[in-house]
């Protein structure tokens, strides 16, 4: 036998392959070497041997022969044992485990609730099949002072005027809000204000689901009406009354040509009937007609051809409008907005007619998402801290396992899996809690959607991901540290805590406190702001005023008589009417002093208000006089300005000045100046405003009662109406109730934030309770020794409490800039807002401290107060 195989190669192999395969592979290689020696000769055999060694590097040869690799982790016996061991642990620590699960489930379920809400908010209008291609055309325009206003409205000439003129454009349609209408069928009359006049292409551009009737033709003929199923049932008791006849405003018979499926609650348009556009007549007294390119009173929707560029379309439209008005440096500018963006993307863009368009608030959605994530974080931190603390109790068990041969990896995996299973249990529990609590929450928040299976389906993946993430992340650190346990120390019961680990818990706790303080501060600030809104002097008196809404034609017929009858009674103080009700935004026009060039036109808001309006609403006229029937020229020649308008126009001596208002009119004389009042909601600042006597039929009537019994007052109202107008229905509301609705969104947000703060505090305390109990139990010997050495109870108490107090202060400091930033943003939604009081932050911290003290004192005091010998005996 000649020389053996190359020693170097052999040594190299034994180095990298150090397991049970080493022997047989080396044996084979050597045998092969000798064979090759015979076949190819010495140095070739050596070469092949070396190559062979190199080629043998693979996962089989590289794997260490650990116990773990040699046992089957997934055998039934192993799994059963792990389960048993986990259950034993849970049973021994029932209290903590319960707190842990409860806390996480609560956090998860509030997260889930918000997730459902956000899912709903983001889903608006996507049910329309062509939602990618449908756009609404909004308009922005600028006045000479640089104020830009954006409206959702468009001029009536737009839709018919650009058909076929743009290559991107497929179909275009328009709507006119039908405002308050009376629909009658046999003995059923009701005021309906959720309808539009829609032209023949509407149902093709926006393909709402038609239950019967043909989308292409239903709105072609004049005097056709399409109803939703709900409305059809209301009037006809028949879900499909095609062909039936229903009367509009006591005058016009309409034929039912289609029945729509009730619109889903995630549609931005919220109508329940459509009348064919051909039936629309511009009411008497309006200054423009349907051929106008400037009258922004309609809604225009366009569907573009697939794969076309909406921006090009918009540019084309902008050009078109520039050409229509070449001398104007700031012509009306069309803005093309995709329909699925409308709900959340329309803040700052108003509907001049306040038609039933649902509008959401992207900021709110984001804020809620943020808050819910914060709550989840708190819950997650809790879970983590508690798992971590509990891990200490398992040291002995883990120690024994290691003695029996478990390696680090299997212990780690077992702990991780256990934590995951726990987290998943929490997920299920959370789902249950959410489904149970949802109806109550939805009612509280006035959310008008319900959880459907489809929503659950979409949301579940996120939830599972979050749950798994929390389970894994929170147990990662304890699992690792346990797995790397020093065996001897574990058995002896000595903690092998190293400094870094303790600090992590502190950080998490501080963060929890921070979040809780942040939420408490937010609640305080929002609460104060809403209180402020309620108590701000709006410049008028809304109490005791009843708002009546009626058809313009009825107003024309009955108002004077009705008013006369009402005013003579002692119950009534004054009666008047106006075009816009307080709280709704006012339309605007242009105004300039007489003698100035039209280029000096300034934008001004205005309202058409009848005689006695100012007295009815209790708005003082500070200079000059109110409108009066004694002056026959008042309707066409008089105008009353508010204080702001006077300053805006720079009128030193306003009474008697002539102004040009409404280009088409002749000049008007300023006869009086009213003190500024908030005609719109407190979201907006008071702008320059003017009031003139009405030139069109109005809809809103106000009756101011002297303070008295509302029941009696309403009865009087209705009886008098009946004697004047027969059985025409009367629609009345209390004005202050109406006004309260303006701040609905804010109130709801505030409530939600309040609920979240409570939740955050609850969770933080839960976690804190767990941790303190834990810590106290573990430091029991220390307490005993201190007591023996003479420590008093108060000093022990201080000793344990101090770190928490310190953390709270730290948390407060962290939160101050954050809260300030977010809440300032929110407050700026309102033209009238409070400044954030400096004491908000200390008080929030204070509240938290008090709650912490309550939570924690009992535990600490009981340990501090016990007999030292019993403490020291514990083993």
């Amino acid at each position: 036998m000649k020389k053996g195989p190359p020693k170097l190669a052999e040594w190299f192999f034994t180095w990298y392959c150090n397991n049970h395969l080493q022997e047989s592979i080396l044996g084979d290689l050597e045998e092969q070497f000798y064979q090759n020696q015979e076949k190819y000769g010495g140095w070739q055999a050596r070469l092949r041997y070396c190559f062979g060694v190199l080629l043998f590097i693979n996962r089989f040869t590289l794997q260490r022969d650990t116990y773990s690799n040699r046992i089957n982790h997934y055998s039934p016996g192993m799994i059963k044992n792990n389960l048993i061991s986990s259950f034993r642990f849970f049973r021994k620590n029932k209290g903590f485990t319960f707190i842990n699960i409860f806390g996480l489930s609560l956090g998860l379920s509030s997260f889930l609730l918000i997730l459902f809400f956000i899912n709903h908010e983001l889903s608006f209008d996507r049910f329309l099949e062509n939602s990618d291609q449908v756009y609404r055309i909004n308009f922005a325009f600028q006045d000479n002072s640089g104020n830009v206003t954006t409206l959702v409205n468009s001029p009536p000439a737009l839709a018919p005027g650009i058909r076929g003129k743009f290559s991107e454009l497929d179909k275009i349609t328009q709507l006119r809000y039908a405002m308050n209408c009376l629909l009658s069928y046999e003995d059923k009359h009701f005021y309906e204000n959720q309808g539009y006049f829609a032209d023949s292409l509407f149902l093709e551009v926006l393909p709402y689901e038609l239950l019967s009737g043909d989308a292409q033709t239903a709105l072609d003929q004049p005097n056709s009406i399409v109803l939703t199923e709900e409305l059809a049932l209301k009037y006809f008791n028949d879900p499909n009354p095609l062909g039936a006849s229903i009367i509009l405003n006591n005058e016009i018979p309409l034929t039912v040509t289609g029945i729509l499926e009730d619109l889903p609650n995630n549609s931005h348009l919220d109508f329940n009937f459509l009348v064919s556009f051909a039936s629309y007549e511009v009411p008497a007294g309006y200054a423009s007609d349907l051929s106008s390119w400037g009258w922004l009173g309609f809604l225009t929707y366009a569907s573009l051809k697939p794969n076309t560029d909406p921006e090009r379309f918009e540019t084309g439209l902008i050009q078109h409008f520039k050409m229509l008005d070449p001398n104007n440096p700031n012509p009306m500018r069309p803005i093309v907005q995709n329909v699925s963006d409308i709900y959340l993307g329309s803040t700052g863009i108003n509907d001049d007619l306040a038609s039933p368009i649902r509008s959401g608030n992207r900021f709110n959605v984001r804020a809620l998402l943020l808050v819910s994530i914060l709550i989840l974080l708190i819950a997650g931190f809790n879970f983590s801290n508690l798992s971590h603390a509990l891990a200490i109790n398992r040291r002995k068990v883990i120690g024994i396992r290691k003695i029996l041969g478990a390696d680090r990896r299997s212990i780690f995996i077992q702990l991780l899996v256990e934590s995951l299973v726990l987290a998943l249990c929490c997920l299920l529990l959370a789902l249950g809690i959410t489904l149970f609590a949802f109806p109550y929450v939805a009612q509280l928040m006035a959310w008008d959607f319900s959880i459907k299976l489809a929503m659950v389906w979409e949301v579940i993946p996120i939830l599972v991901m979050v749950g798994v993430l929390i389970g894994m992340v929170s147990s990662f650190y304890p699992a690792i540290s346990l797995a790397q346990l020093d065996l001897m120390k574990a058995i002896k019961g000595i903690s092998n805590d190293r400094k870094p680990r303790v600090q992590l818990k502190k950080v998490l706790l501080t963060l929890q406190f921070a979040i809780a303080i942040g939420l408490i501060s937010a609640t305080i600030i929002m609460g104060r702001q809403i209180h402020h809104l309620r108590n701000t002097d709006t410049g008028y008196q809304a109490a005791h005023v009843v708002l009546i809404e009626m058809l313009p034609t009825d107003m024309r017929r009955f108002f004077e008589v009705y008013k006369d009858q009402l005013v003579t009674d002692a119950l009534v103080a004054q009666v008047s009417r106006s075009e816009r009700v307080l709280g709704d935004p006012w339309p605007f026009s242009v105004i300039r002093k007489q003698g100035e060039d039209p280029a000096m036109n300034k934008r001004i808001f205005f309202n058409q208000a009848d005689y006695d309006y100012f007295t009815t609403m209790d708005i003082p006229i500070s200079m000059g006089r109110d409108f009066s029937k004694d002056y026959i020229n008042d309707p066409s020649k008089a105008i009353i300005l508010n204080q702001q308008a006077v300053e805006y126009l720079g009128l030193a001596d306003p009474i008697g000045t002539q102004v040009h208002f409404f280009e088409l009119d002749g000049p008007r004389t300023v006869i009086g100046v009213a003190e500024d009042f908030n005609y719109a909601s407190l979201h907006e600042a008071i702008g320059p405003a003017a009031m003139i006597l009405p030139f069109i039929d109005l809809e809103y009537m106000y009756v101011r009662f002297n303070p008295g019994n509302p029941v009696e007052q309403i009865a009087f109202l209705e009886d008098t109406w009946q004697s004047v107008a027969g059985d025409t229905p009367l629609e009345w509301r209390f004005l202050d109730a109406n006004l309260k609705e303006l701040y609905d969104t804010e109130k709801k947000m505030s409530m939600l934030i309040q609920a979240f703060s409570v939740l955050a505090i609850l969770l933080a305390c839960l976690g804190l309770l767990g941790m303190v109990t834990f810590m106290v139990n573990n430091r029991v010997k220390e307490v005993g020794v201190r007591k023996v050495l003479g420590a008093s109870i108060p000093s022990l108490y201080t000793l344990f409490i101090k770190p928490y107090l310190f953390q709270t202060i730290l948390a407060m400091l962290i939160m101050i800039p954050l809260v300030h930033y977010f809440l300032s943003n929110w407050l700026h939604n309102f033209a009238y807002h409070i400044q954030i009081p400096w004491w908000t932050y200390p008080i929030s911290a204070g509240i938290l401290i008090v709650i912490i003290l309550i939570t924690v004192s009992f535990q600490i005091l009981s340990a501090a107060g016990s007999n030292p010998t019993s403490l020291l005996r514990q083993e």
């Binding site: 053996g4 395969l21 022997e23 047989s24 044996g27 084979d28 092969q32 693979n58 089989f60």
Partner: protein, 109 residues
């Protein structure tokens, strides 16, 4: 249980069955080179053997040592019932496909 076999794995498995009580890395490799006229490396044969064992088609045990191996013992492989089943399935499916070929397909080839 996936009873699918790769082509190389199938060959190795068959040869283990052929070599009855003498199936280990080197003998299999030599057989492949001689009988099938294919060049294979020892490591690829070993890897295939370990994979087959992982899948449950083979079982192994430590066997005799010889001087030619420097006194080292060898690892002998035996086919299991599962392995036999896998081979049979493979063979049956090949046969079935062969039987399905119409005469005309191979005409003139």
């Amino acid at each position: 249980m996936r009873l699918h076999l790769g082509e190389f794995e199938e060959i190795v498995l068959l040869l283990v069955a052929v070599h009855y009580e003498d199936a280990y890395g080197l003998t299999i490799m030599n057989s492949i080179e001689e009988k099938l006229n294919r060049k294979v490396t020892l490591s690829s044969v070993h890897t295939a053997l370990y994979r087959l064992e992982e899948k449950g088609f083979l079982s192994s045990e430590i066997g005799g040592a010889t001087k030619a191996r420097g006194g080292r013992r060898k690892r002998l492989f035996k086919i299991t019932a599962l392995g036999k089943e896998a081979l049979e399935i493979s063979r049956a499916s090949r046969n079935m496909l062969w039987n399905m070929i119409p005469k005309i397909s191979f005409d003139n080839l």
